[in-house]
Symmetry: C2
């Protein structure tokens, strides 16, 4: 119907199919046989065989130990990623912390660590800290630097994919247009992928979490701020310049309170971690009875409110329910606009659980059109705090493996625009 970006010509057909087979093996839970792959990709067994044997020869894929079968016939030889091919690192840079995963290319986590880190310190100190974290983690885990094939990094801001930098990020002062990807690539001498953290959350939950295999998925990162990662029609959606999914600064009340971004009535000013803590402080100032009064006013965090709510504190429960309703309004907007099958809610605030999630569900059902509301499943992140770091791992593996099968032979002379 419309001009497509993929222009297959015989020269790149095998390449495209090889990438497709590789991803099928990577993301198909439970193992795929050659025949499975042939059916799903719509090409013949013979063609698949040739591709799979290439991948095995490269050491990227292996045959899994045979498993009990159901039907008569020659047992299928299931395929899986060869974990010994190499390792990758995934790093999620948050507003107040930095978390790191080391995994092999089969996405099995080998090491995990999280340290506090204040992103407002600016790019140079933080990237130095990141470098030290990597070195320490390798030392502690006994994993060699040579085994690391690629590194994936996530940051909480809109990303320009071409330059590998953040552009006008609301919560990363001093980082505007700093060449993050190039800096790390040069320092590490490895391929580096740079993505928005919510985007990575979507990838992580899609690959190994609550949104497995869904083709229309939105991941909502509800933490200090609020962001969304969008997986539309099976592909990460970044928009024209890479800053799609910025749900946090959508207006839900034009006359609402001022947000840190300067506008009025953004969701983030109602439903984010900061907003929850502020609501508690205001209520206490007004003299409302609550268990939270025992905490010094200025030290109350969203986590304190969540704990109080779990212990039965009425005010805390009310604050969290209201935050959920406000987030629900914004998510209802996403549902109306994107018509997804699944919404995965992650980030720190989502850890609160049903006290937060139920109001979200209720509000979405109430405030989005039936045609879309009926279809959508709203759930918490299965990977918990690790969604984004896991997404970074997935991206790093993609980088490593797809580059490997591409460079196997000299790059095609066919220009893909």
């Amino acid at each position: 119907m419309f001009p497509s970006l993929d222009f297959p010509s015989t020269a790149i057909v095998k390449s495209v199919n090889k990438h497709a087979v590789l991803d099928l093996i990577r993301f198909h839970g439970g193992g795929v046989s050659r025949v499975d792959a042939a059916q799903q990709l719509g090409i013949t067994r013979a063609a698949i065989s040739a591709i799979v044997n290439d991948l095995i020869a490269l050491g990227i894929v292996r045959e899994a130990p045979p498993r009990p079968l159901r039907n008569g016939g020659r047992p299928a030889r299931l395929l899986e990623i060869e974990p010994r091919y190499g390792n990758v690192i995934g790093i999620d840079l948050g507003a107040s912390h930095m978390s790191l995963l080391i995994a092999n290319v089969a996405a099995e986590v080998l090491y995990e660590r999280e340290i506090p880190s204040d992103i407002t310190a600016g790019p140079q100190p933080i990237l130095d800290q990141m470098h030290h974290l990597v070195q320490e983690s390798l030392a502690q885990s006994g994993i060699s630097w040579e085994s690391i094939l690629a590194i994936g990094v996530g940051v909480p801001g809109p990303i320009d994919t071409a330059s590998g930098a953040v552009i006008s990020p609301p919560i990363m002062p001093g980082w505007d247009r700093y060449p993050i990807r190039e800096t790390l690539k040069t320092r590490w001498g490895r391929p580096v992928s740079l993505n928005n953290d919510a985007e990575l959350g979507a990838i992580g939950e899609w690959a190994f979490g609550a949104g497995r295999g869904e083709r229309f998925l939105a991941y909502i990162k509800a933490g200090t701020g609020i962001g969304a990662g969008l997986l539309l029609d099976g592909k990460i959606y970044r928009g024209a310049t890479g800053s799609a999914g910025e749900i946090g600064h959508i207006t839900i009340d034009e006359n609402g309170p001022q947000c840190s971004c300067g506008n009025y009535g953004c969701v983030e000013a109602y439903a984010g971690g900061k907003a929850i803590a502020r609501a508690a402080r205001e209520a206490i100032r007004k003299g409302i009875r609550t268990q939270l009064s025992s905490i010094p006013l200025e030290k109350i965090t969203a986590q304190d409110v969540a704990e109080a709510a779990r212990r039965g504190d009425l005010l805390a429960q009310q604050i969290i329910a209201q935050a959920g309703e406000h987030l629900g309004i914004a998510i209802a907007g996403i549902v109306n606009l994107f018509n997804p099958t699944t919404i995965v809610i992650g980030g720190g605030v989502a850890q609160i659980g049903d006290l937060y999630l139920e109001p979200v569900r209720r509000t979405v059902q109430k405030r989005s059109l039936p045609a879309s509301a009926r279809m959508v499943r709203i759930t918490t992140a299965l990977l918990g705090r690790r969604s984004s770091a896991m997404g970074a791992v997935v991206q790093a593996i993609s980088l490593a493996l797809h580059q490997a099968i591409e460079h196997e032979r000299p790059a095609s002379h066919v220009q893909i625009v």
Copy 2:
């Protein structure tokens, strides 16, 4: 990176390339030569030649009369669609009207007509009326029914692409799940495409209007109601079940007035044609001085308000500016979420012009994140009231031509999932 839906294999390579060449010729303003096509598609001149000559042999493409050139060398033979290959009909079914275009496959409009029609009358009477409109139009224009290759239809509701019906449409009472596409297909014995009207607006403006060639485009249909059609990464985005882009019922003020859909504070209740008329009536009831007082209160329409505003009426100008601001809030949400390059505003209310558009632009700049706001161009529909009907024409032509080159030979045995 992610499993793609297109699985090229040698058997379908030529088919894919043929479709790509055809669309390149269709949508490239000013004519393409074989060499141009080769460069843009990344395949060789020889391959393009074979494809183009096939298309010429089928009677779908022709060589344009030679034009003056700039550079030395053999003059390029420009390609264009052969208009005599056949004709199509595009129909836009609105809430209160029905408009029809007859065009040849080169998308040159041959006949145009618009009649009043109340969509609330229900599917059977309206589809009968549509049939009569087609017959009358053919008779009046002297175009033969035999020349009509396909028909495109647009309706103002969320569409389930699989069944060709609308699902829980807010403004089409009685149409829920009525098999519109099958009914028309059977009656006419021609391929029929059924799309959402805003979707078609996006297609129309993308192909021949204000959004020519843009890859990230949102078309906002601001009429009685408000809807959006989304073109993301060069492709129409329909969502998981075809009901994406329902911007009209996004909440911009949670405590706002009740909307016809049952919720509170939807954009449509602030910025749609109905809302504009209602605001005027309420102001008059309050006794505010305005030229509109000369019109019977219950008969005031958005168009009356627009005319009064143009004549300098302060109240009318204020109402329209406020409606624009409210629409701007919703569009700012789209800009934050989708990060498009272009927003095209069409529909009846958009005809008001800058009085409406300027507040929209101002509000979007104010209420969306700088990273996305900087990139976006906001403009009125170039095709005016015809955007959607033109989109229906484009879809009908797509149906006719792509089917023609596909059925040229027996369909590929390759299953594309």
